[in-house]
Symmetry: D2
Subunit: 171 residues, 4 copies
């Protein structure tokens, strides 16, 4: 049985936000979207999360714009951290690429998630997805996972089907 459930102490979760659709805001002045401050801290507040956590805003990018240096920054933050349970919010377009980069890291449960509609929308998958990832971070054994469209996928066994705008298993 996973450690978290046996001990009375709750193991803290680290959330790293990197941008993506989940954090996109609409700025009328610019007639376009932009990613500034992450909505994730606010989302955890609305969810009345009392579980110990830390939230760190690493990047504010559409995932199509992430560079190798960006992915290495994410990996570094995961690797060098004392946290063993980590959630990463990320754009959905290149989530699997970042998952690949993180595969080698040992001893940590790393769950990537994001959203297909901005968290600031009335109708959005954002809170459900972050909830999924936050639970998966507490329960899954060490490894890399992607929580999207209601499934906690193994991070090396999933792809984004762009045509149908959803995540699916692949062998």
């Amino acid at each position: 049985m996973p450690d978290t459930l046996q001990t009375s102490a709750l193991e803290p979760v680290l959330l790293l936000t990197t941008g993506g659709t989940i954090d996109k805001q609409y700025f009328d002045a610019a007639s376009q979207y932009q990613i500034l401050d992450s909505f994730v801290p606010r989302l955890l507040g609305l969810a009345r999360v009392m579980h110990p956590f830390e939230c760190r805003e690493l990047l504010h990018k559409d995932s199509l714009d992430l560079t190798d240096a960006d992915r290495e920054l994410i990996a570094q933050n995961v690797r060098d951290s004392s946290f063993t349970r980590i959630v990463i919010t990320h754009g959905t377009d290149t989530m699997t690429q970042t998952a690949k980069v993180l595969l080698g890291i040992e001893g940590k449960t790393i769950v990537l998630t994001g959203a297909l509609a901005p968290a600031r929308f009335n109708e959005t998958d954002a809170p459900f997805n972050v909830g999924m990832a936050f639970a998966a971070a507490q329960l899954a054994p060490p490894g890399v996972y992607i929580a999207m469209n209601g499934t906690v996928f193994r991070g090396d066994r999933v792809m984004k089907d762009r045509a149908r705008q959803r995540f699916v298993s692949r062998d």
Copy 2:
């Protein structure tokens, strides 16, 4: 490693809704809140859940009004079902009592959740909690759990602290 993550087939999740604050609606004509149709199916739609699931509306009660017969109805639906991964949405006040009744059931992962604000509110913990429970149902080993306030608790190790309106571990 949990089966769900190894097989390419996704194990379906059964959701049983029983009422509670999560499903409360305000009816101006009656000058009060009532529970009619559950918001949970709609919530899963907004969350773009593609994972196979079935949603069954069992009851529409405030959990303070649940009787022993009601809890036995819930237990029966869990026991007699072919599903091994089950989420139950429930009022928070007597969630631990229902968890107790379900403790004896073997071979199933049963996760209770609910919300402290109705799902139809702008500011609510509902989608995050259902997301947590939906992931926990896929990942946790057989047993009873409660997913509230950001933590997946063991169902026999948690209580609702009414004064502070939150769920906490207990020995």
Copy 3:
């Protein structure tokens, strides 16, 4: 043409909040609704209102609980104020009664409004109604009005059809 539109100075609007469904919140601890702080100031902020206004929380009651003394308090605040353009948010059940009490007041444009769903709900008529009333306060000649269900009614020519949960004209 109404003065407001001729002068370059904008005439300020006074908002008096008295409670009603528009301000109802759900408190899980009490298993029922309560009216505490009004949502109206926040609603005006979300609406990016730059027009000069003042918002005063007079009461926090379901309108079925308003007494003659309460209605006189409202009338007094209207009468004694230097503002000539006034919006009153109010429960819908006895809105016409309060309108009646205000009919005698001269030289002021008084617009009552409320909502059939709490302002804190995702799906609510609240912001639209307050917008209607805020505009009516600027445009209508002195008198009492009720802005509900998309119509700015004369305050002495409207009633609430309880069965159909809507406001309708009456002779």
Copy 4:
């Protein structure tokens, strides 16, 4: 006193939607915001509008992309219509230009409005603004108006202050 308030018959309002921020939706597949179906009909439904109206989707453009031919199309729909009370939802950037084009039309109350945040957002000025415009259409004498930021401006006496992202009077 405006006709609407004297007769028992409610004069119907025509809404013409032309696009703008109010109707922008975020499409993850395209990594950008687009304007497809207008949210205005749904907004009127949520507002429980029972007042007679007709809603016509003319255009789906950011107002920076409107051409002279587009503005003439809008003017034509206003001019040729039997409705005398008209609301036009429109992007905020060139709302005053369209107002100018409509200035010559006689015998009709024409109110332009829009929003600085999309109507599909949790936090938006959209419903309040449409409510203002819908009331102004019923109350204001024939002429062109702009309802934004809490004020019903005369259409020839207002400009958008782009730096501060708000509408202000001008001489």
